[in-house]
């Protein structure tokens, strides 16, 4: 009999007095006990994973560091291999990387155990946030409350942004917004355009962690690995302080970027197979040589991951000829990169720090300082975006200067309120103050994407001018437009047949020295404009908001493309690198090589020192490769054909559009030929 039928019959019997009430009461008691027992068994809450965990796994990646050049089991493509081959472990010596924690793909394999803490909803006790903590790591929250991931132009971190959901006994964690790093200690690299998915399942006292690293720029298929931890009440995650120093980075050059030229270290990459492992004093022990590993397999690759590979061991078939059941990537690097700089005709606002906001206007970043003194904009974007930029700035300025809030003041003694008989009523019967005006526009270059909005936006603002002795300060229409003097030259005498822009679009204040300071604090802080000579052109500036601790980098820095170096207008790759180094000298990471000073790029996501360093490193590596090819006597066309930037092209390059990889390589080549 079905439970429902049983209940109907029971009710009918009770109503006909066929079952005495005493029996019903007894049944009540039994049922209550049953409900308690069964409810306990039919648990609805997820498995408890909170607590102390000890890394407990007997696989190579967790028991020891893989030797240099060991890519076995990694589905690398050519770009991933080249990047890893040319990246020495001494990259950790660069100032901006000295304190970075393990990269997210390797974190579960680092020593020191893990603490998993849980925040619970106070009413339901459902986990709202898990916190993962490892030695050398930052607190890594995993949000369980269903919140969305941030927009793609939000910053990336070493641990990324994670959300989780329980699926049966398994906690599935999805992580985005990750910085570039490594898959394993010892070399195998990642880009910053990978997605990470983890599956945590507790079995008795064992925690199994499956990690999926989907990096379509460096891998032919997702890299999936798994490891285990054991519950250990006595485990304590040690904290390791970081004491970085110049000495670690070659001792004398704080901007030194260690790297190998392609092929330069080919022998070193295979010594673990041919000569044995390193022993004391830098010698190698032949007895440790892992000489049973085929050299071709040491290079990794998707086709070496499947059992089909074994058919190559007798030489009857090559690895290239194998057909394997390959997997596909679920990630699109192109989409992820494009999303950092959405060209959607809209203005997106990202609060940064202190007074400063980042506005993404159809893919171009505008930096805004907002406060009681008014608005300063670093760049104005493209002309066709001006109306939307103005609307966004006005709305933001109103919200910042006079935020909407309910009355919180009662009685006759409301502090800071004006009025006599009933001061608080004026906080209700009111209207919002107008947005403060745009006082300054700062152009970091003459490029139209940054400055063609000047006319409409600058003229909408106002500034002040002293009336001289005895005269009142005068308000003048239009914001002051500030730029390096070469920007004024470029704008007022445009190349080709382009006409000069109207006077209202031109800089009204120019500088020609190393830097220029706004004459007074603006919104309570110093604003300093620095010149970056011979960078993308001869007129680049970057702007430092000192108390907010934000740098607006202009065209020097982009997270979505190679720098648009215009050699004919005085630009050079060396100058861009010098400019980036100057930004790095100014900026300070908050902790563990991330956060702290925020850097707003000309295009792309909000960044920090490590991101700028990554971009600088990329430029140094490509510059040195091109220089090496020039010294070998290669022509420009031969240099292009050699593809010296193959491991970065997927990330920053483009085959089409106004700034292609070929154009960038040509700019590097020409600027090196001119010895700038």
């Amino acid at each position: 009999m079905e439970p429902q039928s049983l209940l109907v019959t029971l009710m009918q019997s009770i109503n006909r007095h066929e079952i005495p009430i005493a029996v019903v009461a007894a049944a009540l008691l039994v049922a209550a006990v049953n409900v308690l027992v069964l409810a306990q068994d039919a648990r609805t809450e997820p498995t408890n994973i909170a607590g102390e965990w000890r890394l407990d796994n007997n696989e190579r990646d967790t028991s020891s560091q893989a030797p240099l050049g060991d890519y076995t089991g990694i589905p690398f493509n050519d770009a991933g291999r080249l990047r890893s081959d040319t990246t020495p472990e001494s990259i950790w010596g660069t100032l901006e990387y000295q304190c970075r924690p393990h990269s997210a793909p390797h974190q579960w394999r680092g020593l020191g155990g893990a603490s998993i803490l849980v925040e619970q909803d106070p009413l339901t006790r459902a986990p709202s946030v898990y916190h993962f903590q490892f030695m050398r790591s930052l607190d890594r929250p995993v949000f369980m409350d269903g919140r969305p991931h941030p927009p793609a132009y939000a910053p990336h971190s070493w641990t990324g942004f994670s959300t989780g959901e329980w699926i049966g006994n398994t906690l599935k964690i999805t992580t985005t917004h990750l910085k570039d790093g490594f898959l394993r200690r010892g070399g195998p690299q990642t880009t910053d355009m990978y997605a990470m998915t983890e599956y945590l399942t507790r079995h008795d006292d064992i925690l199994t962690i499956v990690t999926v690293i989907d990096d379509p720029l460096y891998q032919d298929q997702p890299y999936v690995h798994s490891t285990t931890y054991t519950a250990d009440l006595n485990n304590r995650v040690n904290m390791e302080t970081c004491n970085g120093s110049f000495a670690e980075n070659g001792g004398t050059d704080r901007h030194y970027v260690p790297h190998f030229l392609p092929g330069e270290n080919a022998e070193a990459l295979t010594e673990w197979i041919t000569k044995g492992g390193l022993i004391t004093g830098g010698a190698r022990n032949p007895a440790n040589a892992e000489d049973w590993v085929p050299l071709i397999a040491a290079r990794g690759g998707m086709k070496t991951l499947y059992p089909e590979y074994r058919s190559t061991l007798n030489g009857s078939v090559t690895v290239e000829a194998l057909a394997v059941p390959a997997s596909r990537s679920a990630a699109s690097a192109e989409k992820m990169i494009a999303a950092q700089s959405p060209r959607d005709g809209q203005v997106h606002v990202l609060p940064v720090q202190g007074n400063v906001y980042m506005l993404v206007a159809d893919g171009t970043n505008i930096t805004a300082s907002l406060g009681p003194d008014g608005v300063t904009l670093v760049n104005t974007g493209a002309a066709q975006m001006s109306d939307k930029v103005l609307a966004a700035v006005t709305q933001l300025a109103k919200a910042v200067v006079a935020p909407t809030a309910t009355n919180a003041c009662y009685g006759a003694h409301c502090p800071g309120r004006w009025g006599w008989s009933s001061p608080y009523i004026n906080t209700v019967i009111t209207s919002p103050a107008p947005a403060p005006p745009i006082r300054y526009v700062i152009n970091t270059s003459a490029a139209p994407q940054y400055s063609s909005g000047n006319e409409k936006i600058a003229t909408s603002g106002s500034n002040t001018r002293s009336g001289g002795f005895g005269a009142a300060v005068e308000t003048v229409e239009g914001a002051a437009v500030l730029a390096h003097e070469n920007v004024l030259s470029r704008l007022s005498t445009p190349a080709g047949n382009a006409g000069a822009p109207p006077a209202a679009a031109l800089p009204t204040v120019t500088y020609f020295e190393d830097f220029y300071k706004l004459p007074a604090f603006f919104n309570g802080e110093a604003v300093i404009v620095y010149h970056a000579p011979e960078a993308t052109t001869d007129g680049d500036s970057y702007v430092y908001f000192r108390r907010s601790d934000v740098i607006s980098a202009g065209d020097l820095f982009s997270t979505v493309s190679y720098p648009t170096i215009d050699v004919a207008k005085g630009g050079s790759v060396q100058g861009v690198i010098r400019g980036l180094n100057a930004i790095l000298d100014l900026a300070v990471a908050e902790y563990r090589s991330q956060g702290g000073t925020w850097i707003v790029p000309g295009h792309g996501r909000l960044s920090d020192t490590a991101d700028v360093a990554s971009y600088r490193n990329m430029l140094v590596i490509i510059r040195d490769r091109v220089q090496n090819l020039i010294e070998k006597g290669l022509t420009l066309e031969q240099v292009k054909a050699a593809r010296p930037s193959i491991d970065f092209d997927g990330r920053y390059g483009s085959a089409t559009g106004p700034w292609t990889t070929q154009m960038f390589i040509e700019a590097v080549y020409r600027s090196l030929q001119e010895k700038k």
Partner: protein, 248 residues
């Protein structure tokens, strides 16, 4: 009052009934393992050798037992590894036993032998494992795959009418002595192998099976030997390539 009591009793009985409906095996004969499955492992699978590639895809030289917590007795045995001797003795399948078979590169075919027995076949070494969920037959003589008892590990209850998700736990013993690595790292007849089978759907749609294996051998291991092995589900049996055990 009477009505109130009756109503309360009926409500509680209803709760009991509803909860009982979610409990496999309560108040009625337990459902067969196949019906009560917490996850569906059946189908064709291929191992993806991402970890310990150099010890699994190819055979390391004698004496390479790094990461295996062998005790002195175990090392002594490992140091005498002689594949020719194993071949002569008909012992080529020593590295294909239950303690290591999931680490061997190859394909799996998983199916229900009957309502309470899950069967795993491997093309590498043509081995066959039987996971008994109930009424397990007598253990019999030790064998490469030993005797395996299995049970589902259920996750929390889900919505009404939805099957509970979970994992599979398998404990195997009664094993014939074998190798944890093809180059002779030994395990003894007294070994217990505990395995946990997880199934996840990756973002690219791949069905991914991860087997967590804990090997406990008081004779040759200092402590347990813990590894994970990963498999991807295939749409069909293509690539199934039965091959005999090899000691090299």
């Amino acid at each position: 009052m009477k009505t109130l009591v009756i109503t309360a009793a009926v409500s509680l009985l209803a709760s009991t009934a509803a909860l009982q409906a979610q409990q496999p095996g309560r108040g009625a004969p337990p459902p067969a393992a196949r019906e009560a499955a917490a996850l569906d492992l059946t189908g064709n699978w291929v191992s993806v050798i991402v970890e310990d590639w150099k010890w699994r895809m190819v055979t390391p030289k004698k004496g390479v037992y790094e990461a295996i917590p062998l005790n002195p007795a175990g090392r002594k045995v490992a140091d005498t590894w002689d594949p020719a001797r194993d071949e002569a003795a008909g012992e080529q399948c020593r590295s294909y036993g239950a303690a290591n078979i999931m680490r061997v590169p190859g394909r799996l075919r998983i199916s229900w032998q009957n309502e309470n027995t899950l069967r795993i076949e491997t093309d590498a070494g043509t081995q066959s494992r039987l996971f008994h969920f109930a009424a397990a037959p007598p253990a019999g003589q030790p064998s490469w795959q030993g005797h395996s008892l299995a049970r589902w590990e259920y996750g929390p209850a889900r919505g009404r009418g939805q099957a509970r998700l979970g994992n599979l736990k398998v404990v195997t013993n009664n094993l014939r002595p074998g190798y944890l690595r093809k180059n002779g790292a030994p395990y003894s007849a007294g070994t217990t192998v505990t395995e946990y089978y997880d199934l996840n759907t990756l973002p690219n749609g791949d069905q991914w099976m991860t087997v967590t294996t804990k090997v406990e051998d008081p004779q040759y291991l200092l402590r347990h030997y813990l590894t994970t092995s990963d498999f991807k589900k295939l749409p069909d049996a293509s690539g199934w390539n039965p091959s005999p055990c090899s000691s090299r």
